[in-house]
């Protein structure tokens, strides 16, 4: 039957593309747009969310993902971005509290397996970890880098 052949072929094609992930990026600021551009360039399927449509101007001409205008704190916005189907969600909004809330909703309500949140204030990282949310703190990263460079120069 036609359908059986089609299913086999479909599986073969999808296996070739198996490494491409479906990633939702919340916030299209400096970090969000950098990640969205980079991930899209690597062949991943990206949905980027921002409250302001102008924020998408920072996306490169090669960006091949989707843009959703809305407040990610509202679960309807995450639903629009199809968060439930995401392999990974990156909360990269400006405010730590927004990122914490979005990350929690993504993990608990939309059951996203891999959630990463950007934290500006390193002191908050522990709280995130207790909630089982992976974090990245640009402040800690920059601080560590400088300290390490200075230590090497001694």
């Amino acid at each position: 039957m036609g359908i059986c052949r089609q299913t086999t072929k479909r599986r073969q094609v999808n296996r070739v593309m198996a490494k491409s992930l479906f990633i939702v990026v919340v916030g299209c600021g400096r970090l969000g747009s950098l990640l969205a551009n980079g991930l899209s360039g690597q062949g991943h399927s990206v949905v980027v969310i921002d409250r302001r449509a102008e924020a998408f101007d920072d996306l490169s001409a090669e960006f091949s993902g989707f843009k959703v205008v809305g407040d990610a704190v509202e679960s309807e916005t995450l639903r629009k971005a199809r968060a439930a189907d995401a392999d990974c969600l990156i909360a990269a909004a400006e405010e730590d509290n927004v990122n914490l809330m979005v990350a929690q909703v993504a993990k608990d309500v939309f059951q996203v397996k891999w959630v990463i949140a950007r934290v500006a204030e390193p002191a908050r990282e522990l709280a995130y970890r207790q909630l089982n949310i992976e974090t990245v703190s640009p402040t800690s990263l920059a601080g560590d880098y400088v300290l390490r460079s200075l230590a090497q120069d001694k």
Binding site: M1, I3, R10, V13, M17, S64, F66, A81, R82
Partner: protein
């Protein structure tokens, strides 16, 4: 590379890129058009097999493009791209032979699956149809040929094979709407809802027809809402 082509029509560059990249592994060459006018200019190209068309575009809108395609090249299959939650004017699209909708954002896998599903329909053999999915596909193929009575007959055969699934009931409901049989449409949406309350298109259609004076948008399944066990 295959001889025939897929034409992607969308005003947004990122969606054109996304679709072109997603379809590349299937092997059909992909052409793009930034608006309806450009798309219609490419219809003379006999090698176009399928059009993936955004319904909402500045200038000539998607439905108008679809109308012209259905007049000039009724042989071309069309997949409609809609924004999330706006399955507006789907009954008009169905009247013009377009039954396949995909909502943004979609994954590359979903658009590839839908494309293959649509293109595989032409090879289906009516005489050998024996299962639910094949009858459903034959019903959609008949819609593509504007044979709505034939579509109804296949969808009803699918229901007879498995009355506990919602999709065929929902399609029958949509077809009754196309044929201006509102009461029958409501009855079938209700059956779809009872068969599977989690099947969102039936719930949305029922809500629409039984409230707001029955003038809201129609909801038909999109690849984003396909049952996982169908894969």
């Amino acid at each position: 590379m295959k001889d025939q082509k897929i034409l992607v029509v969308d005003d947004e560059k990122n969606i054109r890129l996304s679709l072109s990249q997603a379809l590349a592994p299937l092997g059909w060459p992909v052409e793009t058009a930034v608006n309806g006018e450009e798309a219609l200019g490419k219809l003379d190209d006999q090698s176009i097999l399928l059009i993936i068309l955004d319904l909402r575009m500045p200038g000539m809108d998607g439905i108008e493009v679809l109308r012209r395609v259905s007049e000039l090249r009724p042989d071309i299959r069309v997949i409609i791209v809609t924004a999330y939650g706006t399955v507006e004017r789907a009954v008009e699209a169905m009247k013009l032979g377009a039954v396949d909708l995909i909502q943004k954002p979609f994954s590359p896998e979903q658009i590839r699956d839908l494309t293959q599903q649509v293109l595989a329909r032409d090879q289906l053999n009516e005489d050998k149809a024996a299962d639910y999915q094949t009858h459903l596909e034959l019903a959609k193929k008949a819609v593509g040929e504007r044979n709505f009575k034939g579509a109804l007959s296949h969808a009803q055969k699918a229901i007879a094979l498995d009355p506990y699934r919602a999709e065929a009931f929902n399609l029958v409901g949509c077809l009754h709407e196309v044929l201006h049989q509102r009461e029958d449409a409501i009855k079938n949406y209700r059956m779809a809802y009872e068969a599977d309350p989690s099947y969102a298109p039936a719930r949305e259609n029922l809500d629409r027809l039984t409230s707001h004076g029955g003038r809201g948008p129609i909801s038909w399944e999109s690849a984003g809402k396909q049952r996982k066990d169908d894969k």
